[in-house]
């Protein structure tokens, strides 16, 4: 269906992009054949490290005219195969488009290229007393990737998700045209919001080459509190109580002891407390320490009343590092604890979090799989991992399929969605289709067709 890349194509690409930034066939590392989870492996035929919008435009124009599939990729930290070149073709890597172009302290925006890493952006703006609130666990992901999946992260409880911080986008359309959507404006009621449609579209509609992101003043203080519980049930049952207390929280994370132990082994660093079965990690931030104290006192007292053993202060850089570094490494730690895993990133209404986590335990028992989980209890987004643990391939597949079916069905029943922040990519397509139904999938396909009539951009993904 698609044209295979031949010498003539490579010759052309080398005429518009310096040859040292183009790799072909065997020159391409295997790392570019898969994403972080490695569920599917296909190598692109050509890998191009782009450095400007114009370069992306030239490549896209040629690919469009010649019907060569193109996949854009940042750090490749995705988990659902979204950044894998299923049909081969050209992979456009944005890692070298990694410049922070401008911090506008009047409009409170930062303009970045898509290859800037989340951790670089956060550090850069915080040095200037500004704050980019979205905080997904994978800090080495690119901003382009974060926008493409509408990544959420730990601070969504208070600040929202990536979508809430994207003001404007410069993109290259599948035919090579360059378009600008949105801008530095705060309000915008000017027709359909195509920017918002592009956010979370996983590189299927166009390629993001520049983004204007909203910033907020950096909160003067931030204190976390780690609350241990005797059982996972007790820990998760307290979450709705915390939410109902109307306390102003930045993050509500839950974690189980086995996940913490995996992180300890993975990082080679001890967690500050491993005496209890389950933990809730809360964060409070603001500009007045007194207000923060009032808030954490209220919440800690409530939690203790509801079964928390104590509340441990995580209030200095060193303490935050010892706790949050472990939290940030959970995914990789679970991955390292087994030979193969698959994930489920469902989001359910906040009031159903406790019930859903309990249900994952039931599924684990019923199907006979180890299913560690952790997640953003405060916003209903859970990260659930099915671990193969060396079982035979055939049995693993059967068990995983069964477990996914049960989990997604239950999520649907609870009014939840297939993905909270990792996206649909390749791996979750059947579950999305089942959830939203034929009409909505058809609507998505029609939108895709308007943007990309030749279906050359990240084909085989999302819908």
């Amino acid at each position: 269906m698609y044209k295979k890349v031949d010498n003539k194509d490579i010759e052309y690409l080398r005429s518009v992009i310096p040859a040292n930034r183009i790799l072909v066939h065997d020159e391409i590392s295997d790392d570019y054949a898969h994403d972080e989870l490695g569920g599917i492996e296909v190598k692109p035929e050509v890998l191009i490290y782009v450095r400007s919008t114009e370069e992306v435009s030239k490549v896209m124009k040629y690919a469009y005219e010649n019907e060569i599939p193109v996949v854009a990729r940042g750090s490749g930290t995705d988990l659902v195969g979204a950044a894998v070149a299923l049909e081969g073709g050209i992979m456009i890597c944005t890692k070298q488009m990694n410049h922070i172009l401008e911090v506008d302290e009047t409009n409170l925006t930062v303009t970045v290229e898509p290859g800037v890493l989340l951790m670089e952006l956060q550090a850069y703006v915080e040095e200037r007393d500004l704050f980019y609130p979205p905080d997904p666990g994978e800090k080495s992901a690119t901003i382009g990737g974060n926008i493409s999946t509408n990544a959420g992260g730990m601070r969504a409880v208070k600040y929202g998700v990536t979508r809430d911080y994207v003001r404007g986008l410069t993109v290259v359309m599948p035919n090579g045209e360059i378009e600008h959507f949105g801008g530095k404006v705060v309000k915008n009621s000017s027709g359909y919001d195509i920017k918002d449609l592009i956010i979370g579209s996983e590189g299927t509609l166009c390629i993001i080459t520049e983004a204007i992101l909203k910033l907020v003043p950096k909160p003067a203080y931030s204190v976390s509190m780690l609350l241990p519980f005797m059982t996972m049930e007790k820990a998760i049952e307290v979450v709705p109580e915390i939410i109902r207390s109307k306390a102003s929280l930045t993050a509500i994370e839950y974690m189980s002891l086995d996940t913490i132990i995996s992180a300890e082994q993975f990082l080679g660093k001890k967690f500050p407390d491993t005496n209890y079965e389950a933990y809730i990690l809360l964060t409070f931030d603001g500009n007045s320490m007194n207000e923060i104290q009032d808030e954490y006192t209220k919440v800690a007292n409530l939690c203790i009343e509801k079964g928390a053993i104590d509340g441990y202060f995580v209030d200095t850089d060193e303490r935050k590092k010892s706790v949050w570094n472990a939290r940030g490494a959970f995914l990789e730690a679970i991955k390292a604890s087994t030979d193969l895993m698959d994930e489920c990133d469902v989001v359910v209404p906040k009031g159903k979090v406790a019930d859903f986590i309990k249900y994952t335990h039931e599924v684990g028992k019923e199907v006979g799989l180890r299913i560690p989980s952790f997640g953003h209890a405060g916003d209903g987004n859970l990260h659930i991992y099915l671990c193969k643990d060396s079982m035979a391939e055939e049995i693993w597949k059967q068990k995983a399929d069964k477990a996914f079916e049960l989990l997604y069905t239950k999520a649907r029943e609870f009014g939840g969605m297939v993905s909270g922040e990792h996206g649909i990519g390749y791996a979750k397509k059947p579950y999305l289709a089942r959830q939203v139904g034929e009409n909505q999938i058809e609507l998505m396909r029609s939108i895709k067709k308007v943007f990309d009539p030749k279906n050359i951009l990240n084909p085989g993904k999302v819908c």
Binding site: P272, D273, A300, I304, G311, T316, E318
Partner: protein
Amino acid sequence: MNIIVCIKQVPGTTNVNVDPVTGTLIRDGVAAKMNPYDLYALELGFKLKDKHGGTLNVVSMGPNSALEVIREAIYMGADGGVLISDRKFGGADVLATSYTLCSGILALGDFDVILCGKQTTDGDTAQVGSELAEHLKVPHAANVRDVDVDGDRIKYVSNLDNKIVTAKIKTPCLLCVDGEVNTPRLPSFKRKLQYGDCAEQIRIITFDDLQDKDETHYGLKGSPTQVERIFNPDKKSEKEIIKDGNLASEMYKILRDRKFV
């Protein structure tokens, strides 16, 4: 076992300005915290206490604001604390500081072991612990990574530059604890509720409580060190030497693990 842990309040960030006239750190208005190295010593002290029983008290020298870190240690699990505080102690160098700490500790009575952090993040001299041991005339060891009780002695593991030494030391003794040897426990909200401002757990020792009343032994007057200039040192980066194997792939692995590539 009677354990004492020396702690200090230091600026909460590394971006502290230096007074151009006096050459001392400007601490006013800067958020403060417990010296991170002292936390490792505290945790090692808790480990000893948890295993062998006894009491753990912290000792700090500093202005009244240092009560904050003593309270924090109590919230972490310390039984009590002592603040050695007097205007006469201000401007002390390592000699005067260690002498003042020694005088304060002697005023407290007997102890079995004193644990200190290897250094503070503000002064960075890494000498107060050893000098305190000299003033107290007790044996001491530095770079300690682990401790346990062995009969009437303390068995400790010390990390010297090119070897790990396991040795025993007579009590009473002083041990300077290396950095990053454990993950210090966190302060407890419940203990904070229980002890509040810790008025009953904290004792304040002033100049008048000390036996030696010679003011030239304390503070600026007792400090022979003349500070010419204080400045932020260049950041030291970690070193890792790879000698064997496929060097390129080893290096690539490190870079990849740390996500540089």
